[in-house]
Symmetry: C2
Subunit: 132 residues, 2 copies
């Protein structure tokens, strides 16, 4: 049996995916994959998601240069969530690790403090310079 058949795809044919950085162990982002995206991720060794807003495969970094090299693919006990362990590349060697479209390291930069959400991580690169 194909390993892709083991995944329990949801009613939209998608599976939620968590991307975690090798080394720092930071959770970088969360997205979805369909069957083609997961197959392509395994084949290329780079994260390919399904963009729900654009309705197409999204090779992470195709515009930003912020490619995710995949070190490990994990699946949970219910076969309905994928965890990718990735090396997050920057636009060039001098770039820090940036996964978020806001130019931050991780998408999870808002922290609940005393009943408010506060941005607690710096913008490492102006998004206007990422998507140019």
């Amino acid at each position: 049996m194909d390993w892709l058949d083991s995944v329990k795809w949801d009613r939209d044919g998608l599976v939620p995916v968590i991307a975690q950085e090798v080394g720092s162990h930071d959770v970088l982002m969360f997205a979805f994959m369909n069957r083609d995206a997961l197959a392509e991720t395994a084949r290329r060794g780079e994260a390919v998601y399904w963009s729900r807003s654009r309705g197409r495969l999204w090779h992470k970094g195709e515009e930003s240069g912020h490619i995710q090299k995949v070190h490990e693919v994990r699946m949970d006990c219910d076969n309905d969530v994928v965890l990718l362990k990735v090396v997050q590349l920057g636009h060039d060697a001098a770039d820090p690790s940036i996964a978020c479209h806001t130019g931050r390291h991780s998408c999870f930069y808002q922290r609940l403090d005393g009943g408010r959400w506060t941005a607690v991580e710096p913008v490492l690169k102006d998004p206007e310079r990422i998507y140019k």
Copy 2:
């Protein structure tokens, strides 16, 4: 404005939640919360999820004793995913950190190796002894 109003709940009134262990930084599990579950999580300082299979609030550990103490609540750039940083408790002080109903530390114990899913983490406690 209430911080709960900032969350973009999905069409079922839910938000996906990633639980990550403080210290090890391991991703332990993935689940969903509705508004009541997230409010209750913040109020108690312990993870309360929405069980889709049971159709009710699920105070993690209510049966297993494997409570998750919440150290931080984070939200992503799109306001539609929550990341909890937790201390994963065992049934008693002698128990190791077990988040998975299979008795493993993390739910993400299956690794893709050469086109097959392989269980790569040990069962730390027999589930029959967890749910008795």
